[in-house]
């Protein structure tokens, strides 16, 4: 098996794994980084959503061999440290303030998808999000936290549009 060098949450790691193993399982089963969740393995439920070079992707659909040297993977565990300042990422803070989570299983993915959406809006100089843009989020939440997810994204965008925040690698 090839020994592969990866950058995950700011840390250089080496993994000994076949090229076609999806990134989700490299994170979870090889590296023990369990924030990204298995909800379907089909790039549908989005509960594994993480960031590669600052953009949201589904690790369940990325053969680890496709990552290039220099790519950085950020999972929910590394989100807070991927932005400047102490404490959590502003989206995580709003998630707490609005008490979005119920069972919490999908929430790492929801938060990462929200970070990506908000970064895109901020990069376009936007401070409001449309219903259509919120409708475009594919993350499944079987507890039905959707209304609070929508409210939290609106709130986080309002907070972040005053002082735009981008995760490492995503600054436009």
């Amino acid at each position: 098996m090839p020994v592969r060098k990866l950058t995950v949450n700011g840390r250089r790691v080496e993994v000994d794994v076949e090229d076609d193993v999806r990134l989700l399982w490299v994170l979870r089963d090889v590296l023990g980084i369990t924030g990204p969740k298995y909800g379907c393995g089909l790039s549908i439920c989005q509960s594994c959503t993480s960031l590669v070079n600052g953009r949201a992707v589904n690790p369940c659909a990325i053969p680890v061999g496709q990552l290039r040297p220099g790519d950085e993977v950020i999972t929910i565990e590394g989100l807070a440290d991927a932005v400047e300042g102490d404490g959590l990422h502003p989206v995580q803070e709003v998630w707490l303030e609005q008490d979005v989570a119920q069972c919490g299983y999908c929430q790492p993915g929801q938060i990462m998808a929200a970070v990506d959406l908000i970064q895109g809006l901020l990069a376009a100089g936007r401070s409001e999000v449309t219903e259509e843009e919120l409708d475009s989020l594919r993350n499944v939440c079987r507890c039905g936290t959707y209304p609070r997810v929508r409210a939290a994204i609106r709130r986080a965008l309002a907070v972040m549009s005053e002082t735009p925040v981008f995760v490492r690698g995503a600054r436009p």
């Binding site: 193993v21 090889v30 969740k37 590669v52 409708d135 039905g144 959707y146």
Partner: protein, 784 residues
């Protein structure tokens, strides 16, 4: 007894100080002083569930062992409580922490809630379901906390040399008038007892400061940072990923593995073993388990539903339905002459529905030699432990069952299918396993809410409903978990379905009643096509799904009422308000009507609808606005090629009265989530049975509510009405499903009779063929 909204009843209870090195307290609860308060009963013909319902039954079953539930004050000042109910997102751990924090005047952050292992000595008192948790735990937890508080005050009085009555507690610190103070931790040993003694306590009488105030979840931070450990995240040494190849038909059985060598040659695979449910594959990563599922070749025996489909199941239900019986209305006009009446019949059908949570049936099991250790999100851990011990051929006390907080449940975790399977796999392989179902099997072979039909006969005289009969006929609902332990579980499994029928009937009778004065009323349940409990005749693996019978029974009823209202020219709100049986019911309905502007002008193709549901000692009403215009129904979602859009609920307003609300923010969350379920149940979320197998393979084709189906506006109003909490976890579903259905009927001019409404649409061509597990895609870097 004194009642006040949000007030606390002042009365004395008995409790225990349990012998131990630190302070441990418990409640005594087989006590006539703690029996249910007399309910506000309607004067005419109370129905069973109106006065004594399922949560009373579950609470009474828990009384004898309430003294085994303890509150402990640790030497670091933490107040700890091992929760004997399973947190799966419904917020009970936060609510219990609030009740303890309230009673003991400690900050919420100083209360630590953990999940208790399976405790067989608790008998019927470790079942999480039927929205009974807070109703059952409120008094015993409060009493145990009150005993602890009193003991700490007594110990502080001695230590501080001050009269107990002069001491106060603020944020977990006991203060004397002279300014001296002691923390709970410093008193934990002094307050302990070397013998168990019975004490008399009076819970706090002051107006609550935490209970009734909105609090965020105590576990939210772990959830948003990824620190939360669900079952599949546990780091149990050598417990490698394991998945199971399952039969192409529902509940088929493995006969023979044809290519063991080929499976073992797949990179990463360490073990392969045939068990009762299929062929298990253990590998270094789950991805390699999925690789092996692509090559495994098994000879299967067909499942008992072979050849059956949605239509044949509905035919069987129709054949099993009891003939309509019109209760004898005995209707006489004021002159004593018989009144002319008209009879109206309605029939509604409901498809199978998957009760999958997002977490796909995980379990970690380590079965080696003469002992077993199991970790999983189980809501019936005692019966799980007993059943697993039997399956493994081990004595019950050789099996340790750890309950892990679950990633949702919705009825699924009432059963321990994955735990039993993981235990058998680990035993067969002789190594620990970290088992997960595939998403596809979770839909196809996991548990389903049974298909059913509900027929209603309404008699009316002029514009009034004067009798109401509803016969509900369902594929057997598996209550094989019993009351959480093996004896009542086995009753549900008696041959021929008789035991199960008795259990189902009991649950039906204790949950369903007609909340309107419609003269003589009757509601009956018939179940057919028994579930896996009946070994000879098992057909489907079924189970409850958030709210068991009510969403379908209530939706049928509310649609029929609306239809009668339309036919006699009455306003659906007025008809309901004038026939409701109590003021609490009218209050929630009036609230949503007022907040939603009932009757406001709306464009053609859009409409409002109402739904009402009464259960769990509570009342709930929903107002829905729906948009069924073609341009809305046919909308597309650019990011999701196979999105089911359909009618859009644009506004959802809910009013709920659960008696005493412990955590309004948590209650609101449950109602919001329940509304998302209600919308999905009505419009889109089902399984299609095709030749003995369920077709749905993923969230792409099983249409639970997604963001593109979410109302633009949601509001939840909480109306408190008593000093005792009722049930809440499932209480958002039925009224919202009914309101979505009545709104749809009014928007389209056609009363829907088959649910979910989109069930008749053709299956998507993109669905994975039966018997296959789709491989993970490889285009993740390019896909947004």
């Amino acid at each position: 007894m004194h009642h006040s909204a949000r007030g606390v009843s002042r009365r004395r209870f008995l409790g225990y100080v349990i012998a131990g090195p630190t302070l441990v307290t418990a409640a005594r609860w087989i006590d006539p002083r703690v029996t249910a308060d007399a309910q506000e009963l309607p004067s005419i013909g109370p129905q069973i569930a109106e006065s004594y319902d399922l949560i009373d039954f579950l609470r009474d079953a828990a009384r004898p062992t309430a003294n085994l539930i303890t509150v402990t004050v640790e030497e670091d000042g933490t107040v700890s409580f091992e929760l004997h109910r399973t947190e799966v997102g419904q917020g009970i751990s936060t609510a219990i922490a609030m009740i303890i924090a309230e009673e003991m005047d400690v900050p919420l952050t100083q209360v630590r809630i953990t999940q208790a292992d399976a405790r067989p000595e608790l008998l019927f008192n470790q079942l999480t379901g039927g929205s009974n948790s807070i109703y059952t735990l409120y008094d015993p937890v409060r009493i145990a906390a009150a005993v602890a508080r009193q003991r700490l005050l007594d110990a502080a009085a001695v230590a501080l040399g001050s009269a107990g009555s002069q001491l106060g507690i603020v944020d977990g610190i006991i203060r004397a008038p002279d300014g001296s103070s002691l923390g709970f931790g410093e008193l934990a040993r002094d307050a302990a007892s070397t013998v168990t003694e019975e004490v008399d306590v009076e819970p706090k009488a002051e107006r609550p400061r935490i209970v009734g105030t909105p609090q965020n979840r105590i576990d939210a931070r772990a959830m948003v940072t990824g620190e939360m450990r669900y079952t599949a995240d546990l780091d149990v040494p050598d417990a490698l990923p394991t998945m199971v190849a399952r039969p192409p038909t529902h509940l088929g059985r493995p006969v023979r593995l044809r290519n063991e060598g080929e499976v073992l040659a797949v990179p990463g695979v360490t073990h392969v073993a045939m068990v009762e449910s299929g062929v298990a594959i253990r590998a270094r990563t789950f991805g390699q388990c999925i690789d092996a599922l692509q090559v495994v070749d098994v000879e299967w025996a067909p499942g008992p539903a072979a050849g059956m489909d949605d239509e044949s199941v509905q035919s069987a239900l129709e054949a099993a339905e009891l003939p309509p019986l019109v209760p004898d209305a005995g209707l006489l006009d004021p002159l004593g002459l018989p009144m002319p009446v008209e009879t109206r019949d309605f029939t509604f059908t409901f498809a199978f529905q998957p009760n999958c949570p997002l977490e796909p049936n995980p379990c970690v099991a380590d079965v080696r030699g003469d002992r077993a250790e199991i970790w999983g999100p189980m809501k019936n851990p005692v019966v799980a432990k007993q059943d697993i011990a039997e399956a493994l051929g081990l004595p019950q006390d050789a099996v340790t069952v750890h309950v892990v907080q679950g990633g949702g449940s919705f009825g699924r975790d009432l059963f321990w299918d994955a735990a039993r399977e993981a235990a058998l796999v680990s035993q067969a392989m002789g190594v620990p396993v970290r088992l997960s179902w595939t998403r596809t099997d979770d839909f196809r072979q996991g548990r389903a809410h049974p298909a059913c039909r509900s027929s209603i006969r309404i008699t009316r005289s002029a514009t009034d409903i004067v009798s109401y009969a509803q016969h509900h006929t369902s594929v057997n609902t598996d209550f094989g978990h019993g009351l959480g332990e093996i004896i009542s579980a086995r009753v549900d499994e008696l041959p021929g379905g008789f035991g199960g029928l008795g259990f189902s009937q009991t649950v039906f009778m204790l949950t369903q009643y007609v909340p309107y004065d419609f003269g003589p009323v009757q509601q009956l349940l018939t179940e057919t096509l028994p579930g896996p409990g009946e070994v000879e005749t098992n057909v489907f693996r079924t189970g409850s799904m958030r709210n068991i019978y009510s969403p379908n029974v209530v939706t049928a009823r509310e649609l029929a009422i609306d239809q009668i209202a339309a036919e006699v020219g009455r306003d659906p709100l007025e008809l309901r308000l004038t026939t409701m049986r109590d003021a609490r019911s009218r209050a929630v309905l009036e609230k949503v009507a007022e907040a939603g502007g009932w009757g406001r002008e709306m464009p053609a193709g859009t409409a409002q609808g109402l739904g009402f549901h009464s259960e769990y000692k509570g009342r709930a009403a929903c107002l829905i606005e729906i948009d069924c215009r073609p341009e809305t129904v046919g909308r597309t979602v650019p990011t999701a090629q196979y999105a089911y859009t359909g009618p859009r609920v644009t506004r959802a307003i809910y009013a709920v009265d659960v008696g005493l609300t412990i955590n309004p923010r948590g209650l609101e969350a449950q109602m919001l989530g329940g509304m998302m379920d209600g919308i999905a149940n009505c419009l889109s979320f089902s399984l299609h049975l095709v030749d003995g197998a369920f077709a749905e393979d993923s969230w792409e084709h099983a249409y639970y509510t997604r963001q593109w189906n979410v109302p633009f506006e949601t509001q939840v109003f909480i109306l408190d009405s008593s000093s005792q909490p009722g049930g809440a976890g499932e209480f958002g579903v039925a009224a919202s499903m009914a309101a979505t259905a009545t709104a749809y009927a009014r928007a389209t001019g056609t009363m829907p009779t088959s649910f979910p409404i989109n069930h008749g649409l053709p299956l998507a061509e993109s669905i994975a063929p039966r018997g296959t597990i789709p491989q993970s895609p490889t285009d993740g870097l390019g896909r947004r």
